[in-house]
Each structure stands twice: as structure tokens, then as C-alpha cells.
Amino acid sequence: MTASAECITFDQLEDIIYLVDHVHGFNFYDYSRASLKRRVTRVMNLKRLDLFELKNLLVNDEQFFEYFLKEITVNVTEMFRDPGFYKSLRENVLPYLASFQHIKIWNAGCSTGEEVYSYAILLKEQGLYERSLLYGTDINSDVLEHARNGVYDLRKMKLYTENYRESGAERSLVNYYTAQYDAACIHNELKSKTLFSIHNLVSDGVFNEFQLISCRNVLIYFTVNLQQKVMQLFYDSLQPLGFLCLGSKERLRNESVAERFKLIDKKFNIYQKIG
């Protein structure tokens, strides 16, 4: 943070983006620079690296790259984050989803999986879980492993329980996990219909047809150009009358795609594919 700590310029950041693409095949050209610069600087300060050492490790140390990849993408998530969003899902979306024979949900950029399990709980409470499949995808294999395990810091459950209650829940969150020492383990039942796998929104395409796609607080890290591309991908991946959920500060920027969606909830950015 301070000037004496390591800090790179935007030009030096371009060098690193180039390096990561050429050595590892990960394309960050369409990521927001301000956020990326901060994340790279953070890694340098955590590991006490100067620019030369960082580049050296990026080229020569595969294990370091895995760590780097995890640290430069933001993996902060919560169960039932924005309780009002989940309330709106209960009221405006789930009754509609119930009319589909199969319910496939894609949580793009799922990080450690808290949102996927939040969806699983909602579906369970509406009696829809048995005919649902939930896909969580991310670019980082470490966070996906964490998501599969479904083991979270017990201290965070206080906030998650609060969120859950505010989302209009009738039960208690404790019905869905077992506390062991300082960990909260998500019940196996909620894992039986979930699938976590690698998918890169920059380079990978349609892999299934979904009734709901949720991608919240991921697009903010992308340039407008990439945001528009991803919107097309989501449109192509949705069944007609399927739902798209974005973060409350995000926008459906692709105009030709936007006109084929109906706004369901303005505040919480929920859309339905109508065209």
C-alpha cells in the first residue's frame, strides 16, 4: 500500500499479462487493469518479490503460477450474499423454474462454491432439488476443490445465517451443515446434485443448456468488450424463458442481447430470456 512497498506501473502490468498469456495460455488482456494491477502488486508484497523475481517465477515455477492465478482473481464470496436477491429469486423466479421439467443452473465464476450451495438450499426448500443439477465453474482448480469439499470457516456462518434469515427463510441454516471444530461442513445431500469444473469465460464456449445462469460480481473485473462477449455466451447457453442473474452493480451491456431479455428485478438485476 505504501510507496516504499513494491508497486508496478500500468506498462509493467502489460508485460506481465503478455508473459502469462505466452507461458501459460491464460488470457487476461480483457481484464480490468485497475483491479489486476492491485492484485499483482498485492502478490508481490505478500511474497516480497520485485518485478524481476515475479517474472522469473512466472516463467519457471508452475506451482507459483497456480498460486498467482488464485491470488490475482478475486475469490471473495458469501452464502446468500445480498439477501434481497435471494428473496426476489424465491418470489419471482422459483415459481417459474418449477414449471421446467429439469432445472439446470450454471454459476459462472463460482469461486469456493458458497453461492452454488445457496441455490441448492433454495431449490431444496421448494421441493425442486431432486430434478435439478447445479454447475459451478471457475478458472482456478484450487477454489473448485474447495467448493467440492464444501468446508467453510465456522466463523463466517454467523453472517451467512443472518443473510439466510433476511432472504425470507423459514428454517435455520444449521439444518444444512455440520459444525466440526472451527469448520462448517455442508451436508452431502447438497453436494449430490452439484458439479464443479474448470471453465474460462474468456476462452471457453457453450457447454450445456441452462434454465438459470448466475454470474454475480464477475463482470466488474472484465472490460466492456469482454462483458459484451460473455453476455452473448450466456444468451446462447440459456433455454428460452431461462433466467440470467447479474450482480447488483453490473449491467447487461450488449444491446443486441439486452433487447432479447425481459427485466424481472431491476434492483437485483434478474432477467428472463424472451427472444
Binding site: 485497475a34 471473495v76 466488474i220 453490473e250
Partner: protein, 210 residues
């Protein structure tokens, strides 16, 4: 009256943006400062306040209604313009891109704060080639001190509210302890400084198009 030395005047002339950080005990002063800003204020103003995400906040609407200058919540990829005040939205860090568009960021809180004053101060200073004026008001934690230090060490103008006048002096005091700041001002001197900035920038505006 605040004394504008030639050193400080040079920094004001160079400045492209003003960033203001404010927390517990600073809202009333912040409100009064923004309400009196003229419509054609020559800088972009970016404000980071600590507030709860749980309650709908109306400060931007009220300020637009009562003041002369447009006041907005910064939106993702929205362009920063002069003569406008932007507030960081609750629960996101606010960053600036090299093309002067905002990026919202949901990474870890700093000092339990999201938005963090330090994060925005550093980001805007970076993009503006350090040609910024950083203003830190009352608050109960140490957020903002590192941001003020960063701006100061890179050549921007740093202004801190006199901790004795602040309702909660912790935040300005932390900044003063961490680095040498250009100006430690009493409340009426901060108003005075804003007027001086307007006056100086208006005179030199033709030489210094944003």
C-alpha cells in the same frame, strides 16, 4: 484563512481530481463541503465514506437536490468527468482505469472497510500521475492514512482535518503520524481551501485542460 504557498499553489494547478475520505463523525462536514461546491467546479471529486450496506443511503440524492454540483454513485465502467462528485457505492472498492472509467471491486475489506479509502486514493493517484488532492476527514479507524501517505510521497497535495476539530480524531491523527502532510486544517479553513482551489483552477483552466 488558509495560507497558500507557491508550493501548494503549484500542486493545485497541476491537480486533475480531488479525493475525499470520511468516516464516523465526518458526514456533516462532508455534506456542507459538497453542498457549497459550485456547479462549474473544475475538478472531478471522488468521495469514499464508510457506511453500512444494509441501509439504503440517500446522501447522493439529497446532495444533488440541495447543492449545485451533480452528485452520483460511481457505476462500473462509468467515465469520470470534471465538475461531478462521485461516491463509492457501499460494499465495493472503487478503482479507476487508465481510460478514466471506474471499476468496482469486491475483494477483501481493508481495516474491515469496503469501500476502503486507501484503495481508492492509491488507484486514482496512480491513474492521474499523482496529480490529485487528497482530503481526509473525521473517522474512527486508520483507513486513509496509507492513502494520504501514498499521494504525498508521489507529489500530490495532502490535506487532513485538524484532529482537534474532528468529531473522531483517530483517522486524521493516523495520517499525520504516518507521513508528513501538506495541510492540517480547521473546518473553516477546509471551506476556504475549496474556494481557493476553485479560484486558482478557474484562472489556470485554459492552461490545464483535463
Amino acid at each position: 484563512m488558509v495560507k497558500i504557498t507557491s508550493h501548494i499553489e503549484t500542486k493545485i494547478i497541476a491537480a486533475k481530481a480531488m479525493v475525499i475520505g470520511c468516516s464516523a463523525g465526518g458526514f456533516n462536514l462532508l455534506y456542507d463541503l459538497i453542498v457549497q461546491l459550485p456547479e462549474n467546479f473544475p475538478l472531478s471529486v471522488v468521495v469514499v465514506i464508510h457506511r453500512s450496506k444494509k441501509y439504503e443511503s440517500t446522501i447522493e440524492k439529497v446532495l444533488t437536490l440541495k447543492g449545485s454540483i451533480p452528485v452520483k454513485i460511481a457505476g462500473d465502467k462509468q467515465m469520470l468527468k470534471p465538475g461531478t462528485v462521485y461516491f463509492a457505492p457501499p460494499d465495493y472498492h472503487l478503482l479507476l482505469e487508465p481510460d478514466y472509467s471506474f471499476t468496482l471491486d469486491f475483494s477483501e475489506p481493508l481495516f474491515f472497510c469496503r469501500p476502503s479509502i486507501d484503495v481508492t486514493f492509491q488507484s486514482i493517484s496512480d491513474v492521474m500521475d499523482n496529480k490529485v488532492i487528497g482530503v481526509l476527514l473525521s473517522g474512527a479507524n486508520e483507513d486513509g492514512a496509507a492513502g494520504i501517505k501514498y499521494i504525498g510521497e508521489n507529489g500530490g497535495l495532502t490535506v487532513v482535518q485538524d484532529p482537534n476539530e474532528a468529531e473522531v480524531g483517530t483517522m486524521p491523527m493516523a495520517a499525520i503520524k504516518l507521513s508528513h502532510v501538506d495541510l492540517i486544517l480547521k473546518n473553516d479553513e477546509i471551506f476556504n481551501l475549496f474556494n481557493e482551489i476553485h479560484r486558482i483552477k478557474t484562472i489556470t483552466t485554459n492552461l490545464n485542460e483535463p
